[in-house]
Amino acid sequence: MRYLPHTPEDIASMLAVVGADSLEELFGSIPADCRRTGQLQLPRPLTEWELTDHLTELSRHVATGPEYTLFMGAGSYDHHIPAVIPYLMSRSEFVTSYTPYQPEISQGTLQAIYEYQTLTARLLGMEVANASLYDGASALAEGLLMAVRITRRNRVAVSRCIHPLYRQVVATYFKPTGIELSEIPCAATGRTDMSALEGVKDLAAIAVQSPNFFGCIEDLEAFAGRARETEALLVAAFTEPLAFGLFKNPGSQGADIVCGEGQSLGLPRSLGGPALGLFASRMKYVRSMPGRLVGKTVDQSGKSGFVLTLSTREQHIRRERATSNICTNNSLCALNAAMYMAVLGGAGMRKLARLNYDKAEYLKKELRRSGFQTPFSSPTFNEFVVKAPRGFSETYQRLLARKIVAGLALEPFYPELRDHYLLCATETRTRREIDRLIKEVSP
């Protein structure tokens, strides 16, 4: 077996050294009643070639571009990934190393993550970002828990316009905590209904997503003001950070904690995982932050370098009093995002974001002309909600057969939104593809 270097002679000589007669004998400490009787019931080993055929076959049974045309975002976005990134990401010095506990032989990871933290902080308009969390959903849960720790308050309010699956994860994290989790309803505009917060007191956090699940840009400044008045923290979530290439980022609008998903930053969608939890906050809260942090320092000869720092927040030091239980994070995904931000640069982010906006606006306009309503008045970025004409669900199925996925039906997530669909158009959707969709859905 090509992964196991031991020859029979190796095994024999090693057994001699450890004074055992057989490999089995090494497991003498395992009581008989803990052992498995008989072999694992698993398929016989496949050769590299059989494995490749099998996986290739499986992969053919998933609908992806270019064969399929998707107009679906909803937390996972189709963006071009420059070829330099997969190449650089394949460098095994990055891929096959682990947490940089030993900085002298991990400077590659450490500097790259320090750069990631810096670029992420700038992207979100915050003072400090951590080295990554699992994904946008757990990042939001961690953000709310952090707010609870900081404010020592026991209630959080979460907008119903936040990605429904994120809210489910938050609910899972909160169940045993006894923290009260209330929901801020959505207004007719497609934005969070701030008026619902009138008179609500003692909140640890107000959580709002922008662009929100409906693609609408929220008025975060207003929520920040509201939070300030009530000494709550504004936790700003997001699923599409590319929006901050064009629109105001959460930090510039007064958010205290910002958490969301970084998949858009050059990561393959990969069925939703591995993803990338971006997490940032004001510097004064850094000691309450979850996750790892890379800091700048110097070596004995005064050369500047990087190390993991403030680890007294973390489980391996603080154990049950840690700010989070996270250990393995999504470091490689963070590296990927850093490369993407470096490749685009400031102007590139601006132009690409604008192109996303224009594509979606074009799609929106064309859909309107073909009988779709856009119920929500608020501005959007690269996705938006439409109310489809009667009988669209059949059309939707017909389109699937024609290898077009015309967005996401919202009813399963928002029963009140019958016939509503969330559609997305990024830079990867061409005018031809959009026009084809329009042709298909036009009466």
Binding site: M1, Y3, H6, S29, I30, C34, R36, L40, Q41, P43, L51, T52, L55, L58, V62, A63, T64, G75, P86, L88, R91, V95, T96, Y101, E104, S106, Q107, T109, S132, Y134, D135, H163, T172, L246, K248, N249, P268, L271, T297, V298, K303, F306, V307, Q315, H316, E320, A322, N325, L332, A342, L344, A347, M349, K351, L355, D358, Y362, K365, V405, L408
Partner: protein
């Protein structure tokens, strides 16, 4: 110092991204605009982001140079205890990158992602078979989230039985994530001391276990590299008090195909696919931490779970008692693919063989180094062995010094100062993919370092000397945190 694996060579310095580049450059190919631009509400516009601007070659050189400052499994032996730094097959990178996988949108209708669902369904079954448990959820994104899932399940289980419990037993050898995960669930971790054999004794567990204790959260084999021989008795004690047994499965690499977690009395456990199942650690992640349970706890598993439908495969949320979702979508699918490939490539015989060789390598190192470093517990080990700096202390040498000096010899240091029960711990996990020659080279390096230590502290205190940067000042970094430019 005679010719060793480690030496020095030409390496290039590289500044921070924003110290190079210049406004007006770009490393990205802007897509052509094939539609007119639409008007945008000016009041919403933000500043242009303050990102460095680099040409493509700048970016390529930046990360190529950075990569050369890193040490990975592909560079050399990486015996980082508890982390199972085994070889990561290259073919898995290629297969997980197949278009149908890497470009898959998570919210596709199930009918359009059957290939992915089949893979996950089969992986669930393989993991159930390997652990000897009944049901599996692939949701958790890493081990710690798997632990959290397990704790949430215990919480939900006791609640449904109408008797919420406030405590949980956690051995003093436990990994830091264990108490942290328990605490996140509102459980107060009650430490259980391990005995002079480095394992749990039923007596101590019996003394601490009560009706307000949700159960025990143990690791088997434990972090000292020993099999918890009394686990069955312990499980009985815990079960007798209505508690549940959680097993941290991060060390499964020692016992694949050898043990049956179900038979052992384990009710729920998590696995680290990024350790046992050879998926790369990526400089800190991503991982994947599936949670496996006996049938009585299966209803509480995180959702969705992958089920067989008459049509094929589906994502099911139809588990009313489930603790809910832990990941926005379906967990770290990209990592699961690699673990699935690993299981299929190894099959039953080679998975077992892998564990046997991992244990052989660890015992060989233990016996070869026991006169060189102080062995915390002088008895056969499983996949890893734990030494300490006791013998070197007298020369003013600490575990940290030894670790740093090993770098100069061309090895990644072992895990140090963990587990906490061994002061100055040096925790060595070679894994099965290291050949006898590599192991011997590592042993020789350890002996050479010990000899240098005996000769006086200077050499080790200055180590590492061959790396681009010398020993870094972690104290200042923490005192005056500089976390972003």
């Amino acid at each position: 110092m005679t010719e060793t694996l480690g030496t020095t060579g030409l390496i290039l310095n590289e500044p921070l991204l924003w110290e190079k580049g210049k406004k007006g450059r770009i490393g990205y190919s802007l897509p052509r605009a094939d539609i007119e631009t639409s008007s945008v509400d000016e009041t919403l516009l933000g500043q242009e982001l303050d990102f460095p601007e680099l040409s493509e070659i700048d970016v390529v050189r930046h990360y190529t140079r950075l990569s050369q400052w890193n040490f990975g499994v592909d560079t050399g032996m990486y015996p980082l205890g508890s982390c199972t730094m085994k070889y990561n097959p290259k073919v898995h990178e290629r297969l997980s990158g197949l278009n149908g996988f890497s470009n898959a949108h998570p919210l596709l209708p199930a009918g359009l992602m059957q290939g992915a669902l089949q893979l996950m369904f089969e992986l669930q079954n393989y993991l159930a078979e390997i652990t000897g448990l009944d049901a599996v959820s692939l949701q958790p994104a890493a081990g710690a989230q798997g632990e959290l899932a397990g704790m949430l399940m215990l919480y939900a289980y006791h609640r449904r039985n109408g008797r919420p419990r406030s405590k949980i037993l956690v051995p003093d050898t436990a990994h830091g994530t264990n108490p942290a995960s328990a605490a996140l669930c509102g459980f107060q971790p009650v430490p259980v001391g391990s005995n002079e054999q480095g394992i749990l004794s039923p007596g101590r567990v019996a003394d601490l276990m009560d009706e307000d204790t949700a159960g025990i959260m143990l690791t088997n084999p434990n972090t000292l590299g020993f099999f918890e021989e009394n686990i069955k008795a312990i499980a009985e004690i815990v079960h007798a008090k209505g508690g549940q047994v959680y097993c941290d499965g991060a060390n499964l690499n020692a016992v694949m195909g050898m043990v049956h977690m179900g038979a052992m009395g384990v009710d729920v456990m998590h696995l680290n696919l990024h350790k046992t199942f050879s998926t790369p650690h990526g400089g800190g992640g991503p991982g994947s931490g599936p949670v496996c349970a006996k049938s009585h706890l299966a209803p509480f598993l995180p959702i969705p779970r992958i089920i067989k439908t008459d049509g094929g495969y589906g994502l099911s949320e139809d588990f009313p008692d489930a603790i809910g979702k832990l990941h926005a979508f379906w967990g770290n699918f990209g990592v699961m693919i690699k673990a699935y490939c690993y299981i299929l490539s190894m099959g039953p015989e080679f998975l077992k063989k892998a564990s046997q060789l991992a244990v052989l390598n660890a015992n060989y190192i233990k016996d070869s180094l026991k006169d060189v470093f102080h062995l915390a517990y002088d008895k056969p080990c499983m996949h890893e062995c734990v030494f300490s700096d006791k013998l070197q202390k007298s020369h003013g040498i600490t575990t940290l010094d030894i670790a740093k000096r090993l770098m100069d010899y061309g090895f990644h240091p072992p895990t140090i100062y963990f587990p906490l029960v061994v002061s100055g711990a040096i925790m060595i996990e070679p894994t099965e993919t290291e050949s006898l020659e590599n192991i011997n080279e590592f042993i020789d390096a350890c002996k050479a370092v010990a000899k240098e230590a005996a000769a006086g502290p200077e050499t080790l205190k200055q180590a590492p000397v061959r790396t681009r940067l010398k020993r870094l000042d972690e104290a200042t970094a923490a005192r005056r945190p500089c976390l972003a430019d």
